[in-house]
């Protein structure tokens, strides 16, 4: 299930490595857990030591099951490779527009594919 942050994410300062809970209010996802979700976000911000935080999430079993970036950067690319987390970026359409939190999505990192399987119905309308 997708979890979408429209703002860049800092894994060092913005996510609790022990629990996978988002602690950065900037993301608009304060208190949500990244664990087992497909995390969709623009790119990483903050110190490159964030790579170790991504690795730490995986070590603690609370990492996202996959990540989708608009544009991957050194932290997301190297951090996901260290942690063995599938990463997809530069997909055909802007994932921040296509995917909403709660959508069921399929990620194929080998082919660089992102597919939205089912849409959450309630959008506050």
């Amino acid at each position: 299930m997708a979890l979408v942050s429209e703002k860049p994410v800092s894994f060092l300062e913005g996510v609790d490595v022990e629990t996978g809970v988002i602690t950065d209010p900037e993301t608009g996802l304060l208190g949500e857990r990244v664990s087992g979700r497909v995390l969709v976000f623009p790119w990483c911000r903050g110190s490159t030591v964030g790579t170790y935080a991504i690795y730490g999430l995986a070590r603690n079993g609370v990492a996202p099951s996959a990540m989708v970036c608009v544009e991957a950067d050194i932290i997301s690319a190297v951090g996901c490779a260290m942690a063995g987390i599938p990463l997809v970026h530069r997909v055909e359409r802007d994932p921040l527009e296509v995917v909403r939190s709660g959508d069921y999505v399929v990620v194929d990192a080998d082919k660089g594919l992102l597919e939205v399987r089912s849409r959450t119905r309630v959008e506050g309308s």
């Binding site: 110190s47 170790y52 690795y55 730490g56 070590r59 050194i74 190297v78 260290m82 990463l87």
Partner: protein, 387 residues
């Protein structure tokens, strides 16, 4: 291409799990930045050595990798640790921290990374040739390598630099390509540029305004290499800059900077008044230690002063009697670490006085503002305000 054949084999696990992991990391970097090929590197500098910055997860990653028995294939050096590896008790570093820190350094040593333990590897025997491709982490050293030594390196992170050391390869993108090294902005400075604080502030200002790019800063063409070291550290701190040039460039967007802009940078980064004097971000060179020694001999020092340098420069300064002279005046000279990567709060340090904008920026960020910093010119840090 030979290197890619080797990489394929590494990715298949032919050389073991550790090398496979390193190969996956350089490949991920190549894919993220659309690199079409890899280039062999002649030297690597690995950051993320202090337990203060990488923590328990950094330690476990390094331990797992070193247990796989991997070895670096090229000259590789370590960034500073979180403590002087010998005199850590004197710094007030807790035993638990010291134990973790020793394990990190031991892991990297087992992989063949040399414990230069400095952010100035170019003053400690890791001095790449002009035009050579290298993979350096530690952003201030990256700027120095590209701009002063004219070696070619992207801004690596600790793990990607280590992966390059293990594979001997880095992806060709960014400033490894001619196009990535062309100036993008022209910086015009009006006023008098003097001393480390001013160069550091100029770097910080330009880095913040330019963000990413290659600034041309002709005003720095008369600077000493030590001043360029301060300029580069400032540039790397506030932006994503990997290099600058002092050659004038025409037809580019122009950034005008005044002395007042620099004073505003200094004021904006200063949060305190007084405290432990810390100099050596980046690590002090032999010439800087000499200058500090001669200034302190002439005018005396005020308050508690800690200097930070590499073990390599320390040894040279010992041979000249400079360290002994400084210690006789009550100045402490520590190796292997600095005020940015040591656990200041756990050491009981609450206030720091320094001349480095980089240190001011990171100390505030890493302690959530709990450790206050005052920025002053080096002479004033050491001898107090004039008059």
């Amino acid at each position: 291409m030979r290197s890619s054949e080797w990489l394929e084999e590494a990715l298949e696990g032919l050389y073991g799990k550790g090398v496979k992991k390193a190969a996956e990391m350089v490949l991920a970097l190549a894919e993220a930045f659309d690199a079409e090929s890899f280039v062999p590197v002649e030297s690597v500098h690995v950051s993320g050595v202090s337990y203060r910055t990488i923590g328990e997860y950094g330690l476990s990653f390094l331990e797992e990798l070193s247990e796989e028995g991997v070895r670096v294939r090229v000259e590789a050096t370590m960034n500073p640790a979180g403590m002087d590896m010998e005199r850590w008790r004197e710094m007030g570093v807790p035993e638990r921290f010291a134990e973790r820190q020793r394990r990190i350094v031991e892991c990297l040593k087992r992989m063949g990374v040399r414990p230069a333990l400095t952010c100035t590897p170019y003053l400690a025997g890791n001095r790449p040739r002009r035009g050579s491709h290298v993979a350096w982490a530690e952003s201030s050293a990256v700027v120095y390598a590209n701009s002063v030594l004219k070696a070619w390196t992207n801004r690596e992170c600790g793990p990607s630099a280590l992966a390059s050391a293990i594979t001997g390869l880095t992806p060709m993108f960014g400033v490894h390509l001619e196009d990535g090294r062309k100036p993008t902005h022209s910086v015009e400075f009006e006023g008098r540029l003097r001393g480390h604080l001013m160069y550091s502030a100029l770097g910080y200002y330009v880095g913040r305004e330019v963000g990413r790019g290659v600034p041309s800063i002709p005003a720095a063409s008369g600077a000493s290499t030590d001043e360029l070291k301060s300029l580069g550290a400032g540039l790397a701190t506030s932006g994503g800059i990997a290099m600058f040039t002092t050659e004038p460039a025409e037809g580019l967007p122009t950034l005008r900077v005044s002395e007042e802009d620099l004073l505003n940078v200094v004021e904006g980064l200063s949060t305190g008044s007084g405290g432990l004097v810390c100099l050596g971000c980046p690590h002090l060179s032999l010439e800087e230690l000499q200058a500090i020694h001669s200034l302190a001999s002439r005018r005396g020092v005020r308050g508690e002063v800690w200097l930070f340098t590499s073990r390599s420069v320390y040894e040279q300064a010992m041979n000249l009697g400079i360290i002994q002279g400084l210690e006789r005046m009550g100045v402490k000279v520590f190796r292997d670490t600095c005020m940015v990567v040591s656990p200041l709060e756990e050491m009981g340090v609450r206030e720091v006085v320094t001349d480095s904008c980089k240190a001011a920026h990171y100390i505030r960020l890493m302690t959530g503002g709990r450790v206050r910093v005052e920025l002053r010119p080096r002479e004033e840090c050491l001898c107090g305000a004039p008059g």
